[in-house]
Symmetry: C2
Subunit: 412 residues, 2 copies
């Protein structure tokens, strides 16, 4: 099936909020074998909402509308839909009752939440517990899903309510899709592209290149009418890509660099700790974002000031004085002393200048040392990263993770 997504909200067209829900919906709809014709973002203006909806109904098999269903006065989707599709607002007393019970004492004034129980005629409620807004309308045989704009609620209803319905309607003429995303770090988009130009010529094989933060993701999509043909073509393409860029690929699909590091640590039964200066906790944050990371991660020190490098990491003051906090010697000492203190197998340290201030001619902004203690050997490497403070910190944290990954793979 082919669908269209309409996100509604002045907060989106004025750029105050980044629209993450449309992308989430697109990803899941696409992975389920459907296509997205287009995604639109429009303000809380009833005429615009009506126009976008009527145009979409004419050209796609289903429409997903998000936002503007809430209880505050700037939420106008229900009114706009009622008007545009000629379906007068109707009170759903069940909903009203459930909202009342759910909100309890928190509700500030009756008008606010009563609004959420007036829906366009024919609306079928998607969440029976009324914990959140959301309904479906079938208009001129085209199903239209109205979901809340709050990301967590929208995602829950999309996965639990929308996708199963789409699957039911489209089970007869479905495309067979095979998809994989190859996640690379440390190699440029152009270099990867140049190695895969031949693969791109093959029918029904689509290769995409996407710089994401500090990484380049390569997506492979094979779409065939026949299931076996899709699988065979996919296996061939997968082999080609693996041969071309395998060494730079740290993982596939939803895997993160930190997750991959965690898997390698578990496999070798080793534990990791971090000593962070310029990243200030970002490296630990990326690691502990992985559920279950306590199995292989101890923690570490955010040694932002020199004083903390001395007191908590036991870095010699003479090193700090003679070489400076941003130096090979201090990076090595941070990793080695931390590992010493807490008896961990691998310690990685970062010290650098993230900017915008603090740079000098000898050590400009972007100068970063990454230290590593592994197998009782300590080393450090100098990096020069470009970009703003955020970019330099991201590059530093990712490079530190990749340093650990490569050390574990090499076993030395």
């Amino acid at each position: 099936m082919i669908g269209e997504i309409i996100a509604i909200g002045d907060e989106l067209t004025s750029g105050r909020i980044v629209n993450t829900t449309s992308g989430f919906a697109a990803r899941h709809i696409f992975a389920a074998g459907h296509e997205i014709y287009a995604m639109h973002t429009i303000g809380d203006t009833p005429s615009l909402i009506g126009e976008a909806l009527k145009r979409a109904i004419r050209r796609v098999d289903f429409v997903l509308v998000t936002g503007g269903l809430g209880s505050t006065t700037d939420d106008l989707t229900n009114e706009a839909v009622a008007d545009a599709l000629g379906r007068p607002p109707t009170l759903y007393p069940d909903i009203l009752e459930k909202i009342r019970r759910h909100l309890g004492a928190e509700a500030p004034s009756p008008n606010n939440y009563e609004k959420m129980a007036w829906l366009p005629q024919g609306a079928e409620i998607l969440n029976n517990h009324a914990r959140m807004a959301g309904y479906m309308l079938c208009h001129e045989s085209v199903p239209i899903f109205f979901l809340p704009g709050i990301p967590a609620q929208m995602k829950e209803l999309l996965v639990d309510q929308v996708l199963p319905r789409l699957a039911g309607w489209s089970s007869n003429n479905r495309n067979h899709i095979q998809q994989r995303v190859y996640k690379t770090f440390g190699v440029s988009e152009n270099v990867i592209n140049s190695r895969l130009v031949e693969l791109e010529q093959i029918n029904n094989v689509h290769v995409g290149y996407y710089p994401v933060d500090c990484e380049v993701h390569v997506s492979l999509t094979v779409l065939e009418q026949d299931d076996r043909a899709a699988k065979e073509k996919f296996a061939m393409a997968d082999q080609t890509i693996t041969e071309a860029i395998g060494a730079s690929t740290y993982g596939t699909d939803q895997e993160t660099l930190a997750e991959v590091v965690g898997k390698l640590l578990c496999k070798s039964q080793k534990r990791l700790a971090v000593a962070e200066s310029c990243t200030g906790g970002l490296l630990g944050e990326k690691i502990t974002a992985v559920a279950g990371s306590s199995d292989w991660f101890d923690g570490g020190v955010i040694a932002y000031s020199n004083q903390l490098k001395e007191i908590l990491l036991h870095v010699d003051r003479s090193l700090l004085v003679n070489y400076g906090a941003v130096s090979e010697q201090v990076a090595m000492a941070m990793a080695a002393r931390l590992a010493d203190r807490i008896k961990t197998d691998i310690a990685v340290s970062v010290t650098g200048i993230a900017g915008p201030d603090g740079g000098s001619r000898e050590k400009p902004v972007g100068t970063v040392y990454i230290g590593l203690l592994h197998n009782n050997k300590v080393s450090a490497r100098l990096h020069h990263f470009e970009g703003n403070r955020m970019r330099i910190r991201e590059m530093t944290a990712s490079t530190a993770l990749d340093t650990v990954r490569r050390a574990l793979l090499a076993g030395n």
Copy 2:
């Protein structure tokens, strides 16, 4: 002026990448006093690109197109534009030469970058150094800006090239706009809305409510033909909002909670340190994202394992054994011992269960203690946060910052 934004890329319609550039553009265009009619996201399909472009030209004053200008084979915007607007691709030898010089040895094959020098007839280059793609076309008197999809490049060209041109064209009939965003933490959207319903009734005053991560942002926009009228109305509305929600507002516009904490620390000449368990570095990361945070932040300990709580923070083993790592006693000890060790003025600690595993009947997932050492007094408070691992960690880090903010404001 009224504009429309078109973002191009299969990576966007398949949801592999979240579109952040459209929101960034909208925010800046809106802040400059223009309006966004709609934003669209479409795939790398020439016919769709052409159609979207032709429809936009008919109804707005300017169009912004992002993405698909790159050197890889899936970038098709230039071809699509050439075809849709009847402007045959033309070689820009200057560009070719500059790209050659810029890429130097990195270029994998000549075809890749030559592609970027073939532009639709009449294209005016936006970046004279050819460090990035980007050009302008004036078609049927409507300016169309084509910018790269890579966020950093798109943002640079938007600010340096697009906005100044829009300002020049529209200086005569410009609306006077006054805008402020009030950033709140710890109060619900509905409660705020209920206090501001009267303000919303006033002509040309627009109030919006936006849950952003763990916060609620309230935007006030006043749009008037006359500059003085705009300013007067804005001052009145600002006063109303401040009286209604001032206590819950930590800052305005671009300020982050961590920045506000930093300003308060500087004012009282105090320094902060952190002891993080379940946030694993997220709190330190939020703090050190603020440029210049070394003026008021020392660092701290990521005490993810119990062992590290003992070795680095000197938390008594008996506390960990008797009360568990997630307890009031341990939260207090983490803050107090850290402050002791590194002689800092304020120490904040977090210990909790972020899930998905590790919960029990007594301490379910979401149970978090936040400890505080301030003015030589130590305290801890129990919180119950809802949501997934990411949400609980975000709530924990934000609440820890807000705890410090409130302590500094109260002076105790």
